[in-house]
Amino acid sequence: MNGGPTSTQPSASSIAIDVKGLTKSFSGREVVHDLSMQVKRGSIYGFLGPNGSGKTTTIRILCGLLTPDSGEGTCLGYDIRRDADKIKRKVGYMTQRFSLYQDLSVRENLEFVARLYGMPDARGAAADMIARIGLKGREEQLAANLSGGWKQRLALGACTLPNPQLLLLDEPTAGVDPKARRDFWNEIHALAAEGLTVLVSTHYMDEAERCHEIAYIAYGHLLAHGTVDEVIAASALSTWTVTGEDFNGLMADLTDKPGVDMVAPFGTSLHVSGRNKAALETAIASYRDNPKWRWQPSEPSLEDVFIDLMGRSKDNFRK
């Protein structure tokens, strides 16, 4: 139809993913609604949203595992509807659930992938990757016997093995310890520095802040996107941070006050946020003089913004 993007040299374009109006339903329930997004080449794009928000479905549409009901677009310059085969050659997809062969060893899994992509020296490529992901000495271990962190490294190794141009990572760090998570993100940044585009879905806010750009999706709707700062700015959320003691009464009091949209404890402090700055200040006015607490105007955190977006989307789409 719009043949433009496919006819130009794919690698010449600076956009890796460019989709418009993606919609997908499963047995009458709309999982992705009119979703449009653009991801720049060489960037790390974070995909955030609550469980069941359509992140996995969107990722599967992008790599040709699902056909959208409507909408169109390109992935690495290839049409997502017509060129699924070409996309698969250049995209590495790391599934949410470990989906390599549990009864194959690390080396055998990697050699399988290398052969499947027709790499000339499958053994060599697998050996190089084992070294790169730090699994040397565990080559012959069955994937089933690896711990969560090692499985995740193996899965990342398998999907980067055929030198893809785009990585789609679906909650790659779920259930992985902090050290392994940090190593994982360092690796992702190293890959992006080499020119790879990475689309990664996650629940973790600290991970979102490691992305160049983020998008927030809830109930199939893309609610916000941009850099972290842009998303926070666009939220127009005012936040006060309260420090002190005995928040329990305060929390209960504030939660139902008009003007207060969100109260969330953060360790020894409390975040009180509202969409209307003036209304929020009126609401908290009577508590600000209490010597038990210290009130400070602050920037909303990304988490504040997302929880607020989630609350709002619930109102809008889940009536």
């Binding site: 790599c63 040709g64 599934t95 499947l116």
Partner: protein
């Protein structure tokens, strides 16, 4: 101390009839799961009803109307009367008439007929002269069940019919002799028939299961998602999954045939190479069908059920357990679409009758056609997306 307390507390809280409550909980859960799996549920109902009616009507251990060839070297009233009398026994059904011994032998060897009647030249004159000439009835005795009853009935029945028809002498003194010749298995040993049949039956069972679980296993273990995201085509998945088992099946077939020859003394009269080639074809056909099943079903239980649903008619309607020619025509049509039917003809013909390729063309082509059909269905049914 606190640990013992906890244990004691736990024991105190143990509900009455704990054993039955927990068993009941498990039972309820199983019923719910069974009800959710609609296909399996349907099979539980369909399988016995279908199989019982199918086999109840199809299986016949005293087969009648068996295909018979006639080699006529003279055309006389007496000859025609004898044939008529044979047909009247209802055991024989004359389907072919040939004029040379070569054609006659070919029909028997290829299994197109189970019996052959030869009326020799000068037969009637010899009868009139009182020479008591011989009327040759050759039977394909590879399956003693199929040929046995008919052969046993042959003498007395024909005699009675002829006596009534032609008024040539009373039963005690027949003017000619019926010489029955049980070919290929003169001693009517059933192992000679069963062992080659078992080659096919065992291969059907093992090959079908190997591939019937292959695709569902990938789906149930979650590896399908990775596999589909990689650049592999359905036909490549299929070949990759079938070929290893062709080798496994080949080894298995070699084992069964060796045991048959060494332990049971079953001969291999025909070419071992031809047997190997056609066995490989049969193995591949079964693997393709199993693979097709695995692209249709949703889980491993269904795959097993479907395999059983295919396996049972393969045993009962293929001519392995009961004479193929004795089944009603509709059941024979079902038999024709089962690979085992064709392979049993092939393996019996090669091992017991020394048949060569020209005798086996039809069954070979049928096997190849079934294989291609199954493969085509599998490749088109294979879902390339998770939709």
């Amino acid at each position: 101390m606190s640990a013992t307390d906890t244990i004691r507390n736990g024991e105190e809280r143990e509900p009455a009839f704990g054993f039955w409550r927990r068993s009941y909980a498990m039972l309820v859960k199983e019923f719910i799961q069974l009800r959710r799996d609609r296909v399996s549920f349907a099979m539980i109902i369909m399988l016995p009803v279908l199989q019982l009616t199918l086999f109840g009507y199809a299986i016949n251990t005293t087969p009648r109307n068996l295909p018979t060839a006639v080699l006529t070297q003279e055309d006389t009233d007496l000859g025609r009367s004898i044939l008529k009398a044979m047909e009247n026994t209802s055991y024989f059904h004359f389907t072919r008439e040939v004029h040379t011994v070569a054609e006659f032998n070919e029909l028997l060897q290829s299994g197109k007929v189970l019996f052959g009647v030869e009326i020799p030249r000068g037969f009637e004159r010899a009868v009139r002269r009182g020479d008591r000439p011989a009327l040759l009835v050759a039977a394909d005795a590879t399956d003693p069940v199929a040929s046995g009853t008919a052969l046993a009935a042959l003498g007395p029945l024909v005699q009675t019919a002829l006596a009534h028809d032609l008024h040539i002498g009373d039963p005690p003194d027949m003017p000619f002799e019926i010489r029955a010749h049980a070919r290929y298995n003169p001693a009517a040993e059933s192992r000679l028939n069963i062992v080659p049949g078992l080659v096919g039956t065992i291969l059907t069972m093992t090959m079908l299961i190997f591939t019937a679980l292959s695709v569902t296993r990938e789906i149930e273990r979650g590896t399908m998602e990775s596999l589909l995201s990689m650049p592999i085509k359905p036909i490549e998945v299929m070949f990759g999954k079938i070929i290893p088992y062709v080798m496994v099946g080949f080894i298995q077939a070699g084992l069964i045939i060796s045991i048959g020859v060494l332990l049971f003394g079953v001969p291999v009269l025909g070419s071992l190479t031809l047997l190997g080639l056609l066995t490989t074809l049969f193995i591949t056909t079964n693997l393709s069908i199993g693979y097709t099943f695995s692209t249709i079903v949703q889980n491993q239980l269904q795959a097993m059920q479907l395999s059983m649903m295919f396996f049972l008619p393969s045993i009962l309607l293929s001519g392995f357990m009961f004479p193929f020619a004795g089944m009603p025509v509709w059941a024979q049509y079902i038999g024709e679409v089962l690979p085992l039917t064709h392979f049993i003809r092939i393996v019996r013909a090669i091992m017991l009758k020394g048949a060569a390729m020209p005798n086996l063309q039809y069954d070979t082509i049928a096997l190849a056609a079934l294989m291609l059909f199954a493969m085509t269905v599998a490749v088109t049914r294979f879902r390339r997306t998770l939709d």
